[in-house]
């Protein structure tokens, strides 16, 4: 295949050099690798230093085992594809959702679930915004609480159960990534799950809803009610 302008009086020095390079595949590959590495290294490496990376704040605590279970379900169902967790620092966003999101609020988010599309509203400050019963009904039938919603119903969250043994494995793995959990035994995890789940079950009972602590919906409610709360507490306490 001929290449226009390849030879001729106007040929520049770099073209001559490049012509040689095209004959040296290994060198060409190395130079390409260097070219694509520079940008990534320059942007990613500083994120691991306290000076240039996201700030940290002691007021943020790890997700509880029940919230971890809820977060796993949130990922499984792809909630992050329609809901962001990221209030931008603009007047309209703060009016609509509340305080804009600070970096430290994401400290224990593995993976991050900031989202990229708002088919539905942002959830960064949804924790505490509605009673537990609202979330229960909203998952069962979104249009019962939000007429006109395009969200599908998630009725199976009311049927499926969480498994303490499985969640224990999550806690162990998260500990390995650096999350400071103090429990690692299944019995401890189970107790934590049952304890927090039972409180939500009691809340639901006051709203006329019968539930059990190991239903997936309970874990989901625990996670949603947790969102943004540490950040809000720190920010309202004059932490920043």
């Amino acid at each position: 295949m001929s290449q226009n302008g390849m030879e001729g009086p106007s040929q520049k020095a770099y073209e001559h050099f490049h012509r040689k390079l095209e004959g040296k595949a290994a060198l060409f590959t190395i130079l390409t690798t260097v070219a694509i590495l520079i940008g990534g290294l320059a942007e990613i490496i500083p994120m691991f230093t306290a000076t240039y990376g996201p700030e940290v704040h002691p007021g943020v605590t790890p997700y509880t085992p029940l919230e971890v279970a809820g977060r796993d379900i949130y990922q499984r169902e792809g909630c992050y594809l329609c809901h962001s967790q990221w209030v931008r620092p603009t007047r309209a966003e703060v009016l609509r959702y509340g305080e804009w999101t600070r970096a430290f609020e994401y400290t224990y988010d593995r993976p991050f679930l900031m989202g990229s599309r708002r088919m539905g509203p942002d959830l960064q400050r949804v924790g505490g915004k509605y009673p537990d019963g609202w979330h229960y009904e909203h998952m069962r039938d979104p249009r019962s609480t939000s007429p006109g919603s395009v969200m599908p119903p998630y009725a199976w969250l009311l049927e499926w159960r969480i498994d303490p043994a499985d969640i224990t494995k999550s806690i162990v793995a998260l500990t390995k990534t650096g999350v400071p959990y103090e429990i690692s035994e299944e019995a401890q995890v189970r107790a934590a799950l049952e304890n927090q789940g039972s409180q939500i079950v009691a809340n639901l009972a006051t709203q006329g809803i019968q539930a059990e602590w190991d239903q997936e919906i309970i874990a989901m409610i625990a996670y949603l009610q947790r969102l943004g709360r540490d950040g809000t507490a720190v920010l309202s306490g004059g932490g920043r």
Binding site: A35, I44, G78, L81, W100, F112, P152, K169, L174
Partner: protein, 474 residues
């Protein structure tokens, strides 16, 4: 008994897989578009909700359809450009079947809700490991072929293939680092905004080095072939190649503008995104100007029609993207349907159309017989083009509308003018329906290609067979 000079059997395998996964991926796309317009289309089953099918759609069109057409074009063109058979036939087969296995595993796990929830990197860690193995097989085979080449100088298409193989390997490995909890679940070694930055470094360069550079490689081989003209400028191809691979990698943080990501990182992402216009348009101009003098043939040649529209959409979306990366524009565009429109003008317009052009050019040559129906490609072209326009225009309008209504503030009260989120969602419904129509037209075109392909390969081979795979003229 002589082995054919080039291994075209593996090219045929990849081509067939492209057709199959193209239909599947685009069908799922139309289904999830319908789910937004009409929620009962979620069917009330866990496996068919939008949240599970959306990753299936993106993975199917990018890695199954896009991946297979790339491998089709790369295996076909590399052998001819280097005038040598692929280095190892066994590795070619392992690459093909390994890639299809990954796709099938992806389809099963994604509908079951097994996901790492990083966009375009959703697949669970065992599949990530398999991808790594298959990618190494591909890389060894490609570099092996380059090593034994019979042509001293590597043509520009090969440069782009090299950047593709190297960069995707780096991105995939770094972004997938995670600690497994079970066979199906893991947690990334990065947290919070660092995880977000790594993911969008990956995510944007999946666009850059999966959906752009290797497709530019295909353009550099197949467009001059179809136009029967040399590439317009050698000098331009040098400059835009190096500028593109160097600049693209920085652009990721434009996905995190107005987040709590450190400002310096956001600004780097924005500035490099804007600079990307230059090398992107370098590629577009080199493609379009190669057609200089062939415009007459555009009237009758469906392959050239597909290619010229593809390159035009490449130019448009690489102008739109940098604009959307400017912080002020991004504050309006981000989170809205505008982004979906932008992605699809690139995906349907650039990636899809160049793929269709390559396929219609390749099928008669690979199978040494005329297309079963030589008019259908033209109908396909018009269906696809009108479908894309309908899709992108409705998404622009919908995106601008929701973006403006989310931010509108009542001048008298100082409060939100449209405080009820769901009211804004309701106003999007007509656009969601129009998008189903536009996407549906594009799918019908793809199905026409599939029918044409199937009937062509099943038709009898002409008796007076020409030289099956003539080497390219120098």
């Amino acid at each position: 008994m002589n082995q054919p000079r080039y291994d075209d059997d593996v090219v045929k395998l990849f081509l067939g897989a492209t057709v199959l996964w193209g239909v599947v991926g685009m069908l799922v796309g139309v289904i999830i578009a319908l789910q937004l317009a009409y929620w009962p289309a979620n069917l009330g089953l866990p496996w068919t909700t939008f949240g599970r099918l959306r990753p299936l759609h993106t993975n199917a069109v990018i890695f199954a359809f896009g991946g297979n057409i790339l491998f089709t074009g790369i295996y076909y063109s590399t052998q001819r450009l280097l005038k040598v058979r692929m280095w190892n036939d066994m590795l070619s087969r392992l690459h093909f079947w390994g890639w299809q296995l990954i796709i099938v595993l992806a389809a099963v796990t994604l509908v079951l809700g097994m996901t790492q929830s990083k966009e375009y990197a959703e697949l669970i860690w065992p599949i990530d490991l398999l991808i790594t193995v298959v990618w190494v097989i591909f890389a060894v085979n490609l570099f092996g072929t380059i090593a034994v080449r019979q042509v001293k100088h590597m043509y520009v298409a090969i440069w782009f293939y090299i950047s593709f193989v190297i960069t995707i390997a780096v991105l995939h490995i770094v972004n997938s680092l995670a600690i497994p909890a079970t066979l199906f679940r893991s947690y990334p070694v990065y947290s919070g905004l660092t995880d977000a930055l790594v993911q969008w470094w990956y995510g944007h360069n999946a666009v850059g080095f999966f959906l752009t550079t290797p497709f530019l490689g295909l353009m550099y081989y197949f467009l001059p072939k179809a136009a029967e003209r040399p590439v317009y400028s050698y000098r331009l191809s040098i400059i835009h190649f190096w500028a593109l691979v160097f600049l693209y990698i920085w652009a990721g943080p434009h996905h995190l503008l107005l987040s709590a990501l450190p400002d310096w990182a956001q600004t780097l992402g924005m500035v490099f995104s804007v600079m990307l216009i230059a090398p992107s348009w370098g590629g577009m101009l080199n493609g379009l100007l190669t057609l200089k003098g062939s415009w007459e043939r555009m009237r009758t040649d469906a392959v050239l029609k597909f290619m010229v529209v593809a390159v035009s959409f490449y130019g448009m979306s690489t102008f739109e993207g940098p604009m959307m990366s400017i912080r002020a524009v991004n504050s309006l565009a981000h989170f809205t349907n505008w982004v979906i429109g932008h992605v699809h003008s690139g995906a349907l317009g650039w990636v899809g159309m160049i793929s269709f052009g390559v396929m219609y050019w390749l099928i008669p040559r690979l199978y040494n017989r005329p297309l079963w129906n030589e008019k259908w490609p033209t109908y396909h072209f018009w269906l696809a083009t009108i479908g894309i326009v309908l899709y992108t225009v409705t998404m622009w309008v919908a995106g601008l509308m929701e973006g403006l209504q989310w931010r509108a503030i009542d001048q008298e009260t100082g409060l939100l003018q449209y405080p009820i989120f769901i009211d804004i969602v309701r106003r999007l419904m007509p656009y969601y329906w129009l998008r189903v129509v536009g996407g549906g037209m594009y799918l019908v075109g793809m199905i026409m290609l599939a029918i044409n392909y199937w009937n062509t390969i099943r038709s009898p081979e002409p008796v007076a067979a020409a030289e099956p795979t003539p080497a390219p003229a120098d």
